[in-house]
Symmetry: D2
Subunit: 244 residues, 4 copies
Amino acid sequence: MSNKIRVTVWNEYRHEQESDIVRGVYPNGIHAAIKEGLDSEYDVQVATLDEHDNGLSESKLNETDVLIWWGHKAHGDVSDDTVERVYNRVLHGMGLIVLHSGHFSKIFKKLMGTSCDLKWREANEKERIWVVAPGHPIVAGIGEYIELPEEEMYGEHFDIPQPDELVMVSWFEGGEVFRSGCCYTRGLGKIFYFRPGHETYPTYYNNDIRRVISNAVAWSAPNHREYPKYGNAVPLETIKGRAE
Amino acid sequence: MSNKIRVTVWNEYRHEQESDIVRGVYPNGIHAAIKEGLDSEYDVQVATLDEHDNGLSESKLNETDVLIWWGHKAHGDVSDDTVERVYNRVLHGMGLIVLHSGHFSKIFKKLMGTSCDLKWREANEKERIWVVAPGHPIVAGIGEYIELPEEEMYGEHFDIPQPDELVMVSWFEGGEVFRSGCCYTRGLGKIFYFRPGHETYPTYYNNDIRRVISNAVAWSAPNHREYPKYGNAVPLETIKGRAE
Amino acid sequence: MSNKIRVTVWNEYRHEQESDIVRGVYPNGIHAAIKEGLDSEYDVQVATLDEHDNGLSESKLNETDVLIWWGHKAHGDVSDDTVERVYNRVLHGMGLIVLHSGHFSKIFKKLMGTSCDLKWREANEKERIWVVAPGHPIVAGIGEYIELPEEEMYGEHFDIPQPDELVMVSWFEGGEVFRSGCCYTRGLGKIFYFRPGHETYPTYYNNDIRRVISNAVAWSAPNHREYPKYGNAVPLETIKGRAE
Amino acid sequence: MSNKIRVTVWNEYRHEQESDIVRGVYPNGIHAAIKEGLDSEYDVQVATLDEHDNGLSESKLNETDVLIWWGHKAHGDVSDDTVERVYNRVLHGMGLIVLHSGHFSKIFKKLMGTSCDLKWREANEKERIWVVAPGHPIVAGIGEYIELPEEEMYGEHFDIPQPDELVMVSWFEGGEVFRSGCCYTRGLGKIFYFRPGHETYPTYYNNDIRRVISNAVAWSAPNHREYPKYGNAVPLETIKGRAE
């Protein structure tokens, strides 16, 4: 039996089936490209929206240490039950890596507590993702920045809670900036939001992008600790009590 | 017309009507005691659960700069529409001060993105609330700690996101600690969670507790700025574009 | 007697005396331009490096609620005694606003605990300072961004501790980003670092820049609370003690 | 050649030589007890104050991935050169774990930028260290709290910058609380402050305490990335330049 971290790459998997352009970039789906970048280090499965239970049954989630999420045009088709199952697994320690347009997924909005809205533009423009926390394990092996010749723009204000750790900030050719690598903890679970990855660009074949996602898997893997005890608690020390 | 900050004190207002003990402590309701502590500085209204729209109509919320929330046994009776109205107002800048058992309110859980669960015990025990961020405006005028001779215990782990600013930590006679004063921002709105205030104790008559709540009103009052522009954005700079 | 916040604008004041270009932009010194932007709201004094005690005597600092710091080429001429006096006042609650090249001042480096190094370039390039924390009081009255047609570039990595609150991020024409508005607390004192303001550009006449500095004064003004008690402390509760 | 993380345990090593009581608890020095807890997982050396270069030569530091620091009565005997060497290594990525009375060491104060003062009391009292960030790798394998039957008390206010991550909070029998497990980043280096460990108690033989220190070594180990490039930078994009 393997001791490798168990990763599930979840993809909405609609664009690739409906668009020749996207299928041209990702013939086997975005999930396959992401999986390929992780296979040498982790035990990786895939799951897609149109499978039973949106591909994320209770048992599949229980066997997942880190879930990677790519969704865009069908956020509304993810069932509330699926969102609740993922949410509970995150609070119990499963890592969650939310990519690009996943910022608007039900699960990310539920975990953030904000609208997660932002500015966007599809104009084939240059993005340069600067490392602002060079000591962070998520950017190990990455240079001062990652340059992507063409990407969709996401711009501030990005309506998220202040990240626990801000790791990367993007510069866009059209004049905007964006907090592109954001770390959070919710319950026992660690969450990493990573901006790049529009479906029409070959971003998930980029070695630096793959390195960041791989590092984020290691960073967000759970400790497998017991869930905290909540509710009524007996005192650990003697209480003098109310004078009657 | 007044330039004072407009505060609405919302109270579930059930314990006071159902329990002689609680009514003995707060004969006009917890909201009345909280309002009394704020009247000299702010323009204060009250609202309660059993009013129309749970006391929090669109127009009432639009006239509220800071909402104070006390709820306990009837979180489920707050309608989802009310929660949505309050949530949207917070994202648009309304301050929100969540007191004590409000940690389990729908609105607080929605804004936090976690279970907000904790340990608790009703044992008439001593609480000492230590200031850990003495430069913070919320503890202006407060000494090194606030001592409450009898309170309900809340203990860690408290399942909240790491606070943007942690201002106070409680010591309990029975052996626990608790992060008792926690600051957050969600959208344009500032949120302060403040632990003390079980319904059977005269906590909201305590001058230091009143001072903290009053300071928190000033801290969380909105800037009344325009809501950010989200969505598709024209470039601010020339984009060279894709070589065809 | 005035109740206004007492501000001291400190300027190295060397460039203006040595360079025709800088004197052309700031004929009475950078400090005079900054003071002018604050005079209507605060009680403002100035101080400069070549005065006795570097212009910052014990008594002057004791009468200062918020100190604004502009320095560049003569950081080494600020005496260690002056640095120590300012440091102690900050820990006791004085606000400190560090502007632009003040990132390399002795006092900022001492308070940050890091090198405070960065990338820079003087190329008359465009800077666009984006608001990433629109609910923060420091950006009240500011739009989505401040655009400066020409400024010196500062680029990441900026070697500072992660800010307690990151309020603004700059985009530069030459391809870099920078964390431009950074909030910290040290002891009882609040510190705001604000990037723009190279000596050859009329940045401190810009109304938005002036608004940010003015807001930062209000944000960083002290609570005037008693300094915490440190050292040996008698117990507040009975200790059972060691079984002999 | 080993791929293990290289740890150096530094100890002032004076109490053990001067006091029968302390030598009774730590016959080979506190450093030996700490080393013993790490030997099975890491490549561990020791160093002490009275060695040449305070035991921390340039070459020794260059071969150290994580430095553990215990000092108390002789902070002033650590040379400024040693402090500077350690400081530079931290900024370049070496992890630093500061234990107990090391809060007042020159190196910790330099990295924090504050006085690092606190309340204290030697009264053989009970300490209960509560986990407040149960998902953090530093508390992997630790239960809800660590109970120490007798320790020195450290109480708030602890004059440190707000931790990037607050992992543990202590409850003391005498009535105080303390932020006992605090994470920071400075430059490329990660820093963990961990409160317990007065020289007269057998704290460093406690398995949970050893587990926390061991976890902290793994957490703070460097990425061994290239140091960022600072200083003058050529533009990455064309700058239109000033209209003459």
